[in-house]
Every structure is written in structure tokens, then in C-alpha cells.
């Protein structure tokens, strides 16, 4: 008797094509992506029909959350360091190289000067957790916001100011920020919005 041969079918699937596709996709995403910046507070910008895109470099972003806390972020690390040193000089705080190094890697900053040293001494994950409770003071008695803007302008002439605020932020806070900017003769700036599709024209 001859043995009955069971035909064995190979279950191997050719993955080459699949691999080609994935590599292509991966390349696309790597080239087009700009990483989402970590922001201490969640902000939903209001929609507008404006189609001007924000430039990539030399941006000083002012982030305003619904309760009126103000944070700032800059895209160049050397600018951040110079700004910090200038603000420190103005407000009488000097920073050690270690603290400057820690400040350099901050994505967004917004701590009153008197708490800055204590804040920088904290480990990274704790900083993230408490940053949202701070914010740069903008009131007229202790307007550190002005000092920051002035220092940032002095470090980089080409800096463009962009305000990113939540749609529910009361105008009072925006007014404070805008008045501070006006006082510094920063009369041109950008308001960041998200795209709204306009149906009725």
C-alpha cells in the first residue's frame, strides 16, 4: 500500500509588497510631520476663515488658557537662554548653568520669577504637573509678562508674536495682554486660529 500523501500548502504570504507600502507611508509621515508641542493647558482655538499659515521659525507663542493664565514658548533654545538671562538681570535673579540647562529643554514656560528657581529644581515629570498652576503675571502691579516680551525682543529682532488663546477666554485677559504688548510698541502680531469652513458667503 502506498501512503496517502497529504498535499502541503505553504502558508507563507509574500510580505515584500506590504513592506514597500509601509516604508513609503513611513517616509511620508517622517517628512511631513511637525511634532505636536507639549502644552501645559489644553486650548481650543476659535475658528476663522483666515487662510494665512503661521511661519515655522522665529515664533514667540503666547498661550492663554480659559482661566487667564499666560504661558510662553519659543522655538529656538539659544533665544530662550538669552531671554532667561535678561529677565533674570532685570528682576535680580541669577541662574546657575545647571538651571539654565534645565530651562533650555522646557517646551513651554510660564512661572513667576520668584518661583522659577524652585520650579527648575524639580524633576521633569513634576514640572509638567505643576506648570499649569502657574502662569506669568500680567497685572499692572507685577507685570513680568512685559519683562519677558521685552527681553525676547532684545534677543531676537525678527521674532514674531503669536497669541494662542482658548475660545472661552474672557476678553479682559486678552485685553491685559494686548495692552502690555501695545505699551511695548508691539503693534503687529498674529492671532492663532483654526480653520473654519465657511459655507454661506
Amino acid at each position: 500500500m502506498s501512503k496517502v500523501k497529504v498535499a502541503r500548502k505553504s502558508t507563507l504570504i509574500d510580505m515584500t509588497a506590504m513592506s514597500d507600502v509601509t516604508v513609503l507611508l513611513l517616509t511620508f509621515f517622517m517628512l511631513t510631520s511637525t511634532f505636536v508641542k507639549k502644552e501645559p493647558v489644553e486650548v481650543t482655538t476659535p475658528g476663522s476663515v483666515s487662510e494665512i499659515k503661521i511661519p515655522d521659525t522665529n515664533i514667540l507663542q503666547i498661550l492663554i488658557d480659559p482661566t487667564g493664565k499666560v504661558f510662553m514658548s519659543m522655538d529656538k533654545q539659544e533665544d530662550m537662554v538669552n531671554t532667561l538671562n535678561k529677565v533674570g538681570e532685570d528682576l535680580g535673579v541669577t541662574f546657575t548653568p545647571d538651571e539654565i540647562k534645565k530651562f533650555k529643554i522646557q517646551k513651554t514656560f510660564g512661572v513667576p520669577m520668584k518661583s522659577m528657581k524652585a520650579y527648575l529644581a524639580l524633576p521633569g515629570d513634576k514640572q509638567d504637573a505643576i506648570l499649569k498652576d502657574y502662569g506669568i503675571p500680567t497685572d499692572s502691579t507685577d507685570n513680568q509678562f512685559k519683562v519677558w516680551i521685552k527681553a525676547a525682543r532684545a534677543t531676537n529682532e525678527e521674532l514674531r508674536i503669536a497669541i494662542k488663546a482658548d475660545s472661552n477666554t474672557p476678553y479682559k485677559v486678552i485685553k491685559d495682554v494686548m495692552t502690555s504688548l501695545q505699551d511695548l510698541r508691539e503693534n503687529r502680531y498674529n492671532l492663532i486660529t483654526s480653520l473654519k469652513v465657511e459655507s454661506a458667503k
Partner: protein, 218 residues
């Protein structure tokens, strides 16, 4: 399957010996797995759309600027928008009339509200810009020509001047919406100004249906 076929020493041996074929199959499955993971990572971590922006010019509040240097606006061309709380928007044209509480009119952010008003006031410029847009679509004029001509029309005589004043109760969204309407209605001359006590009085007067102006008249 991806495979490599190698001829091992086929040419060296004489006498027509059979060529040994070794096929090297490479399994791409782990590679695909890894790529998929990377793609997922990039997809989650990126923001594909860049945020939009609005460029605004604010008036300088330099104390050196005297009353004479300030730009005077014809009362007939001026429209003042007062943004109030609860998404309400009021407007008055020309000079405020403190005696008549109805001079401050309520309107809305909807298409039939402030937009229709501004489009009506700015009808000439809007029509001209529409013609230009059509021309641009037909590629009769270049992008730069279009821009210069549009700004010329916007600056032209007879176009309304809109003064946006937001009260403390307004939200940032209201301000952006108001600025948006300026763009939709092709208003070239607009400014964000601080609210004055006069306008606050008008708002309160309107809420109380003229009781305040009655009191001051008596």
C-alpha cells in the same frame, strides 16, 4: 516571496554538472511589523495641519501721539461694534446718541446679523472684489495684481470704518468672530479699540430700556 538565487560554482565545473540552486527567502513579516509600529507612532505624534493665523495691527498707545495726530473718521463712515457677553453684539453708526437707547442696535454673529449689515454698507467694494476674484480664477490677472487691487479697493473712499470694542464680558471667540466678519465682508479699515465709559453707559442704558438717560435728563 523575496528570494535570492545564487549560482554556486556553476561556471567552474566542467562536464555539465547540475547547478545547485539555493534560494534565500527573506521573511519580511517582522520588518512590516516594525514599520507599522513606527507609522502608528508618527501618526499619533504629528500635527499635519498647521494652525491658521490672523495678522492684526493694533493702534499705538504711545502717549506722545496727540489728539491731532489721530486719524479722524467721518461719522457717516463709522460703524462701532460693541461686543457684549452672551454672544451678543451691538452696533451704532456714526456718533453715539446717549439719549436714545435704541440707537444701540442688537444684532448677531450669524449671516443675517452683522454680516448682512456690513455687506450692505460695503456693497460697492464687495462687488468689485467679486469681479476681481472671477478674473483671478480665469487667470487674467496675477496673484500679486489681485492683492494690490484688493487692498486698493478696501482702502477706497466710501468704505466703512469699523471700530471693534469688546467689553470685559466678551470672550476671545467673539473677538475672532468679529475680525472674521471684517475679512468676509472685505472691510479694509477696522480697528480694535478699548471700550469707553460712554459705550458702557449705552450698554447699561439699553439693558434698562432708557432708564439711565431718563434719570440724567431729569
Amino acid at each position: 516571496m523575496a528570494e535570492l538565487q545564487t549560482n554556486e560554482g556553476g561556471g567552474k565545473k566542467k562536464g555539465g554538472s547540475k547547478q545547485k540552486k539555493i534560494s534565500v527567502h527573506v521573511d519580511f513579516t517582522p520588518m512590516v511589523d516594525m514599520n507599522m509600529l513606527l507609522i502608528t507612532f508618527f501618526m499619533l505624534c504629528t500635527s499635519l495641519s498647521k494652525p491658521q493665523t490672523m495678522e492684526i495691527n493694533m493702534p499705538s498707545n504711545d502717549p506722545k501721539v496727540t489728539q491731532d495726530d489721530k486719524v479722524k473718521v467721518k461719522a457717516s463712515e463709522a460703524i462701532t461694534l460693541v461686543l457684549s457677553g452672551g454672544d451678543s453684539i451691538f452696533y451704532y453708526t456714526g456718533l453715539p446718541d446717549y439719549k436714545d437707547y435704541n440707537s444701540l442696535k442688537l444684532t448677531s454673529y450669524k449671516a443675517d446679523g452683522i454680516r448682512s449689515l456690513l455687506l450692505k454698507r460695503n456693497a460697492e467694494a464687495v462687488a468689485q472684489i467679486a469681479v476681481l476674484k472671477q478674473k483671478k480664477l480665469e487667470l487674467k490677472i496675477s496673484q500679486e495684481d489681485f492683492k494690490t487691487q484688493v487692498s486698493k479697493i478696501k482702502e477706497g473712499k466710501g468704505t466703512p470704518v469699523v471700530i471693534i470694542k469688546a467689553s470685559d464680558r466678551a470672550t476671545y471667540k467673539n473677538l475672532i468672530d468679529a475680525l472674521d466678519e471684517m475679512q468676509i465682508c472685505s472691510v479694509g479699515k477696522y480697528v480694535i479699540d478699548k471700550i469707553t465709559p460712554g459705550e458702557l453707559f449705552l450698554l447699561k442704558n439699553r439693558e434698562s430700556k432708557g432708564a439711565l438717560s431718563q434719570n440724567s435728563a431729569n
